[in-house]
Structures are given as C-alpha cells and as structure tokens.
C-alpha cells in the first residue's frame, strides 16, 4: 500500500473551529483524493477546539457515498481527537452508514457526487 498521508484539520480549516459544512467539504475532497490514489489517511485533530456534526457529516460521513465502508475502516484513522468529539464522530459514522444503506439514496448520492445527470 502507498504510504500514509496525514491531513491536519487545523491547517485545512485554518482555525481551531471545525464547525462549518463548507470547511468539512474541503477536508472531504482531500481525503477522497488521497483514498482514490491508494493511500491510507490519518486525520489529525491537534489543536482543534470545537467540531460539529455538520462539519463531520461533510468531511467524513460523505465518504460513505463513494467508498465502501470496509475501505474507509481499513484506510482511515483519526488522531489527537478529544474523546467527546470521538463519540460525536462515531455517531456521525453510524448515521452515515444507515443513511447510505438505502440503495436508492446511495445511487442518487453517488450520481450527485460524480455530477451525473438523471437518466431520461
């Protein structure tokens, strides 16, 4: 496997507040690019004070729309995260897995993510 890449939340967001969905999207795009390139990804939450479900849904929950959960489990890890925030992340992940367990929703989300048009 290719070497592990560490993504620093503080650096990508530029603040100790990981609260906005838009910032989560930036993180998501970097994780997705690294996973697609075959890397394992470590997310560092060092010096992050606050995270919200909105941020985590966009950054991490969204990954389950385009990567199998086994692949996420095998290649994604977090470090330096506050224990309370880890509990929040766990709930976000569980919710995302359930959200995408609906095949129709999964397909719609996949198409939207890839920018595909609906079939006529």
């Amino acid at each position: 496997m290719n070497e592990q890449i560490t993504l620093k939340m503080y650096e990508i967001v530029g603040s100790e507040l990981c609260v906005a969905s838009d910032d989560g999207q930036k993180v998501h795009d970097e994780i997705a690019a690294a996973l697609k390139a075959g890397h394992a990804v470590q997310l560092s939450f060092a010096n992050v004070e606050t995270v919200t479900s909105a941020f985590l849904n966009a950054a991490i929950g969204q990954l389950y729309s385009s990567f199998p959960s086994e692949e996420v489990k095998e290649r994604l890890s977090v470090t330096d995260m506050d224990p309370d925030d880890m509990l929040l992340l766990k709930r976000v992940v569980e919710t995302a897995k359930e959200y995408f367990s609906d095949p129709q929703r999964f397909e719609m989300a996949r198409r939207e993510a890839l920018g595909e048009e609906d079939e006529e």
Partner: protein, 289 residues
C-alpha cells in the same frame, strides 16, 4: 401604519406575537411603519433575533420602520445589545458584560459567526461554567447556525442574539432565519406531508433528515435536544405555523400559530450552574469506522 407589540418572552405567547407582527407586515411596501412598544413591559433579549428577522424583512420592502414608546427597562436592554442601533439609537455600554449582541450574518459567514460566539464567551464577566458545559454549549450554537445554513435556503441572512442572567444561572441564545421552514423543507426534499408542528417534532427525532444528497445529516437538532434535556435547560423552535418546546423538566409539547413565522427560530436556554460530564460513555470508542 401602526402596529403594537406587548411583552415578548421566549415562549409560545412571545412567538405568537411575532407571527402576528410578521402577518401584519408581510405585504407592506414603501410605507412608514411604527412599532409601538408602549405595552411591551419586557422583551427577552434573545428574542431580538426573531424580532430583528421580521423587521429586517419589513425594511427590505423599502418600508421605514420606527420603534416608539419603549419603556426604560426595555430600551436599556435593546440599546445595550445593539438591537436599537439598527433603528438609529446609540449603543449603550454593557457594563456587566451580560449581552451577546444582536447580529445578522450571511449564510457564508460561518467563520465570522464562530468568532462572534467565541469572543463573547471568552469575556471575564461570563459566569463560570464547567469546561464540559461550555464545550457543549458552543457546539450547540454552531449546530443551530449550521442547520440554518444547510436547510433554510435563506437569502435574507441569519439573526442571532443572546443574554446571560447571572443571578438565575441562565444563558439564553436564539438563532433565526427567514428561510423555507422545516415543514416546507420536509415536503420539498422528502415528499413527506406533516403539520408544521409535527414536522418540527420529526426533525428532532431519531435519525430523521431532509438531506438527499451525498452529505448525510440528521444529527444537529437531536444533539441539541439531548444536551438541553440533560442540562435541564429549555428549548423552543418556531417554524412556519408550528411551535415545539422542551421544558426544564423534560416535557415536550407542540402547538400551532394562526399565522406563520416566515422561517425558523431555535431558542436554547442553558443552566450555567450545571456540572454534568456530558459524556455518554467513560471511554472513547476504539472502533470508530
């Protein structure tokens, strides 16, 4: 045109008045509007967020809004938190540092909003809260703001205001938007038709979400409800014709308004003396993914 406002508390009767004000001003254009506040013996400062949202909408119809006959106590509060600055009055110094100013944000202002909250909570006058409580409160406010950004589709902004009551160990905070409301959002995104009050209830339960795209949702309001319930605080949501509240003893109730609130308001009131740990388990999970 002259309209009246009476006492505005963070409860059903307070919101009912605001919905009536919204109804009475919904079609106005190019008018002089006087809001007579002579009968308003009290205004909960945080309710400046939904009140400001309604008056902002009135002003966008090129109406000239004037607030008249404010009682001294109400004028003092609304001048300290900057609400009256919109209507031409000078801001008064907040010597006790108990206000979280009335502000309007654009949906893209998440970072600016976060800084606003952080700087107000960092003031030395703010009552001492446990680190766990402060963290949960902060998160809750950001969840409410994110909810408004993600769901409201507003182009009129997001309005926020808060107030500390040190003697009562209370901290109240409100976020209001002028967006499509929970009921319409649910109908539009998921095709589910519910009354406005039932739609709010739906949004605060389980893993329900109106999201349909690649970003999952469905946690923001549930997290809030859980936290406020553990804290024995209070929470109210007004959206369209629906009203939902969580009381300090954990009871939930819903009601309807005769006229809609033109968006969504979320009010939270926390008990600042609470020392709960707010961790559901003592150890973080080993297996997140």
């Amino acid at each position: 045109m002259r309209l009246e406002l009476q006492r505005v508390n963070s409860d059903y009767s307070g919101f009912l008045q605001l919905t009536e004000l919204a109804h009475g001003t919904s079609d106005l254009a190019l008018k002089a509007v006087e809001l007579d506040m002579g009968a308003a013996t009290w205004v909960d400062a945080n309710m400046c967020a939904p009140l400001g949202a309604i008056l902002y909408r009135v002003s966008r119809g090129l109406n000239a809004v004037r607030l008249t006959h404010l009682r001294a106590k109400v004028r003092d509060i609304l001048a300290k938190n900057g609400f009256l600055s919109t209507y031409g009055e000078a801001k008064r110094p907040d010597r006790f540092g108990t206000t979280i100013e009335y502000m309007r944000f654009e949906p893209k202002d998440a970072r600016y909003f976060a800084e606003y909250v952080e700087s107000r909570l960092a003031r030395k006058e703010i009552p001492k809260m446990s680190a766990a409580l402060l963290k949960k409160f902060r998160e809750s406010i950001f969840e409410i703001f994110s909810n408004a950004v993600i769901h409201s589709e507003t182009n009129m902004g997001i309005f926020a205001c808060g107030q500390f009551f040190p003697g009562q160990h209370r901290l109240d905070f409100s976020v209001a938007d002028l967006g499509i409301g929970i009921q319409q959002n649910l109908m539009k995104k998921r095709g589910i038709v519910l009354s406005a009050a039932d739609a709010i209830n739906w949004a605060t339960e389980g893993k329900n979400t109106t999201k349909t795209g690649p970003i999952p949702g469905g946690l923001g309001l549930k997290l809030l409800r859980e936290f406020i319930s553990l804290n024995h605080g209070r929470m109210q949501i007004a959206s369209d014709r629906g009203y939902w509240e969580l009381t300090a003893n954990g009871q939930e109730r819903t009601d309807n308004f005769p006229y809609p609130f033109p968006g969504t308001v979320v009010n939270i009131e926390i008990n600042t003396a609470d020392t709960s740990a707010y961790r559901l388990t003592s150890e973080p999970p080993d297996d997140i993914f």
